[in-house]
Symmetry: C2
Subunit: 455 residues, 2 copies
Amino acid sequence: MTIVSEFEATPAGGDSAGAGTPPPSGTPAGGEAGTDVTTAVHDVARRAKVAARTLATANRMTKDAALGAVADALVADADRIVAANAEDLERGRANGMTDGLLDRLALTPERIAQIAAALRDVAGLPDPVGEVVRGQTLPNGLRLRQVRVPMGVVGMIYEARPNVTVDAAGLALKSGNAVILRGGSAAASSNSVIVEVMRGALEARGLPADLVQSIDAYGRPGGVALMRARGLVDVLIPRGGADLIQTVVRESLVPVIETGVGNVHVYVDATADVDMAVAIVMNAKTQRVGVCNAAETLLVHEDAAAAFLPVALAALADAGVVLHGDAAALSFAPAGATAVPATDEDWATEYLALELGVRVVPSLDEAIEHIRTWSSGHTEAIVTRDIAAADRFVAEVDSAAVMVNASTRFTDGGELGLGAEIGISTQKLHARGPMGLTELTTTKWVVTGDGHVKP
Amino acid sequence: MTIVSEFEATPAGGDSAGAGTPPPSGTPAGGEAGTDVTTAVHDVARRAKVAARTLATANRMTKDAALGAVADALVADADRIVAANAEDLERGRANGMTDGLLDRLALTPERIAQIAAALRDVAGLPDPVGEVVRGQTLPNGLRLRQVRVPMGVVGMIYEARPNVTVDAAGLALKSGNAVILRGGSAAASSNSVIVEVMRGALEARGLPADLVQSIDAYGRPGGVALMRARGLVDVLIPRGGADLIQTVVRESLVPVIETGVGNVHVYVDATADVDMAVAIVMNAKTQRVGVCNAAETLLVHEDAAAAFLPVALAALADAGVVLHGDAAALSFAPAGATAVPATDEDWATEYLALELGVRVVPSLDEAIEHIRTWSSGHTEAIVTRDIAAADRFVAEVDSAAVMVNASTRFTDGGELGLGAEIGISTQKLHARGPMGLTELTTTKWVVTGDGHVKP
């Protein structure tokens, strides 16, 4: 099943099947949420805004203790969560969900313990709120500081995996924000219980339950209403497939951070060490295939092709990778490889599968030009021994992350030392690359005088 | 005349009257630009993107020399610019433009010299590009740096004043970006010549003229096409009245930074020094009235009212300020003041005129609540001697700038030490408050290994 369609703005009715709650009375028309749903979701946002005030001025100890309490509650209520998850799994099987998706959806007591442990890890991270980003005393004696403060209300629209429900709430709370969650209907039962448990734990710590709210019960029209809640929601982060993200970008009046699509390139330069290049390409393509930082196209300088490609393509073929190559690349494909001629569509495709575009280029310039034409701006890598080539690649490739002699798989908040991530931004505004706690904050100028007026 | 209407997406025909160029062949339908205009404007954006690559890797000396050359060219061509400006002024007079607007539109050799001097000031500012924002070596030896890089292509949609054409281009170029300008039709002749002069100066320095392009010739449909150019334009900054800004926010698929609307409050606390409070309120309201950081509402703690309001309201009335007060406030208005009862509409209004809302509040909490309800999140000030009150006001007022015992007029890039500003952001994403050169950049992660792969 695809999750994406439920976020598409179409004149069809609401999607609340299986949400475990009565369907809301409003019905959408032409992609707009009905009045009742809009009112209800905007009330959710207003409650979030009020709740967020409590957390904005809470100190780190309070927030960390709340995260610990939420983690404890999730573990304590693991049986209830697993039972709700069983409903989702049953519905998924009935709908013909693939084994892979069912596995991503499934929760066990062990997985819940891991999710709780991740929350405790977030509690252990430094608090970005209160950091003085810039500060000075002006010649006229005015004292300035630009201080990091929470965003306020963060909206998340995401797909099936129920761990995102907890991860997103944890990062939002730690950075002082309230969160409004709109998960995929495939995980509706799990998410419903998880949100209930988290809200109960917050309330038990004396914090407003409305710091964490779900609008899953309002189905697709609820998602549309959330996208229209400009002024009530400070930022909307979509996480999921390209169609979901593009729908949110297109429909939202709330500022959006575009995440995730990774048409990722590895370029093997003329001077690359062959063994290093093979290891990096294999890691970038095959270490995990369904992720946004996996390689989708391999570009090879023609001077490196004869030494590198026979070894690399044999290793890739052995790993079951289907090769989509240009003629020069395919001439090095081993017998028995599944190899087909590449088209422009291949260069544009994020396979998220054991498939790889392969192209031989006459120069570094052509490699950069190919990347400019086809990349989604997520991550690109160069393998080279040439300082000048590395410097030019770093300077001229306009992507969120540029790797020199390292696998593209390192573009990840955990790997890059951010501690955790709420997504990987492929846009340039506000955040670029992995987004951690800092990226869930904004700043405020505080200006202190003793009666200063402008002359 | 209002400038705003030409940016509104309506089914009416194109606005190219008086632009001094032939009207484009495409016509808009239902707020969308015609196909021809869209193609033309998107080609402009593509050329900007290519041109921006040259500047992205240019060093500071190259950029500063280019700004100097542009400044020289504007001064050298002052006569041509003044002649074009005379056409705009004549058209403005024929259209019944007010004297105030005519003055803002007018260029003289002296004003052109000031504009050129401001460009040279921008050349003198530090270059944000290349700054290493964060960096470390990870336990596995991977070397990370998050480096500041240009956005790429910046779009500006703005109103009448032709100095914005130069200011925006200067800030964009200094921060390594190409700029696409859409000015108001009232200044079309001036802008056309100014852009031509700037492009010539860049070309004479060996830089691409397409670093600075105007789409004024495409009228309103061109502006709409620019808003639709997602992926070609990296950020769109509207500068002007509330209607213009809201239209861009609503219509744009390109990420927007919302600027400028300032429903600004001054709160005089129970313990305020009366003389200081009067001086700050007078400065905030009357030092310059048509600007976004001028005060629009005065809130007064009831314990300060009897000592403060008679003095303050007399001074305000003397300065010609019309008072919109609640009953308690109006009871302190001097005889002869123009004073009328305030409505909710007053609390919501950014007067940009010699008018002021005045309300007496029973507590700091009520003052904060009033600000939460009515503020546009630009700037608020507290006047107080009480540390606890100042701290609460700073922590709980959710605005881009919060002043303690200082005039709201200091929310300005020049005043706050940013050197120059391209606008004042009232949103939380990417930039908040005055936006200088840094806010016209993004970052890129550069990760260097020696064959690192993810285990």
